[in-house]
């Protein structure tokens, strides 16, 4: 859980950054502002969105770190248990030239089994799923920031490009199906 003091600090910076973005936003809307025309004005107008994204990144980063810590804890715990098993088994290996090879085989065997058990477990799957999900949230914020910058430069956003891709895909699909139908009909006709 987030401690009271870290929450206070987060809130403080959240309000501080929002205050300054509001000021920039207000300044940019005045005709006498430096950023009255062109992309800089658009950027200043949108800068509040960037601040919001940065604040949310900070919050998601804390969640991400929580799952990342749990991820490494699970790996470290599995390592500890597996190593204990190897230590118990080691004295049973007969002394000789082949001792090192035999120990290596046992070590790999036990570690592979224990780690596969971990990777196959509900707790690992659950935490790993959340870890990836949080990582994707961070990427999403980054995409959103990039979109603001792209829009400021009068360039199409990711969503707008995606729309074009979707349209192209749909057209290609329809044309492809029509072509295939025609080909099949032609083949049927030729075979008669």
């Amino acid at each position: 859980m987030q401690s009271e003091s870290s929450k206070d600090i987060t809130d403080y910076y959240k309000h501080l950054s929002l205050f300054w973005t509001d000021i920039i936003h207000l300044m940019s809307s005045k005709p006498q502002a430096l950023t009255s025309v062109g992309p800089m004005r658009a950027f200043a107008t949108n800068s509040k969105k960037i601040s919001m994204e940065l604040i949310e990144i900070n919050e998601d980063l804390m969640e991400f770190n929580k799952h990342l810590t749990e991820y490494y804890k699970q790996l470290s715990d599995a390592w500890g248990v597996a190593q204990k098993k190897v230590n118990l088994k080691a004295p049973e290996i007969p002394q000789g030239i082949e001792q090192i090879d035999a120990l290596k085989e046992i070590w790999i065997d036990i570690f592979d089994n224990d780690f596969t058990e971990l990777f196959d477990s509900e707790k690992f799957g659950n935490n790993y799923g959340k870890l990836v999900s949080k990582e994707l949230e961070l990427t999403k914020h980054w995409n959103n920031i990039t979109n603001v910058i792209l829009q400021s430069a009068n360039l199409p956003s990711k969503e707008e490009i995606d729309e074009v891709y979707k349209e192209i895909h749909s057209l290609k699909k329809r044309v492809g199906k029509l072509e295939l139908e025609l080909k099949k009909k032609e083949m049927k006709k030729n075979s008669k």
Binding site: F111, D112, G125, Y128, S133, L136, T139, Y165, L180
Partner: protein, 316 residues
Amino acid sequence: MTPHEVVQEMDKTRLLHYKPLTDKQHKTPLLISYALINRFHILDIHPDKSWVRNLLQQGFDVYMLDWGTPTSMDKYLDFDDYVNGYLDSYVEYIKNESSSEKISLQGYCTGATIATAYTTLHPDSVKNYIATAPVIDGWRDTTVISNLAKHMDVDKMVEVIGNMPPEFMYYCFSVLKPFEQGIEKYVNFFKNIENKKFVDNFLRVEKWLGDTPPIPGALFRQWIKDIYQDNLLIQNKMYLEGEHIDLKKIDMPVFTQVAVGDHLVSPECSMPLHYAIDSKDKTLRMYPTGHVGMIASSLSQKKVLPELGEWLAERS
């Protein structure tokens, strides 16, 4: 690589036709639908371990489907595009070129899931169906991959990054027998560093392992949801653009190949296909090897391929 020519191309996919290695060939051509993960050339990785070359030497007319490398632009390609678009077009091309009414179809791994869906929707085009380590029953799959897939927020992944990135696949590979694959394999490599044949083979496979294309987002989403999370295929509840994927419609001769030591697609995930189909002429073979061992090893040359060839020759 075994001599071949690219006879058809659609978007980023290609259809390869291998040059015959025998004077006489079986009448029915064979199309191989390779997996969506890594590249098709594992089936022709080395002359001594080539799946394709072996089949050519047994007198089969072999075609191979290369799914290519999708880019961000292809993120909307879905299951239907692969089954009723690319695969169907290539099958029609082969039928036309070979003047055959039907072809033999082999699917490997995820390529077998696509081929299975195709076979249910177009049974009139498939004379024989060979399913090699097919991904069929996601809930029965006992591999680590299935556990990761079940907990994946696939909607968010597709929404944020579009296609499934190869790096994610590499992570999935890395959790499969991590110590044997991450340590033992390389210790063994250095032990055999003087052995030219070993090093050559090792590098070919390593290069292949490190070369996987992205998977189109829409296809990946449907894959994870329908196969691993909701397990619709084996329950005969899967649909492609309104078309029902009914495994009972598979009534032609079917040969299912399963590897006992498969840690990518467990036998429990593949075998249900054999029991779910309506075919009267069906064979299930299990081999004491792994996922790649079944298609590119000495065992595949000595046992897997001769058995497949014998079965297919009788029906081609």
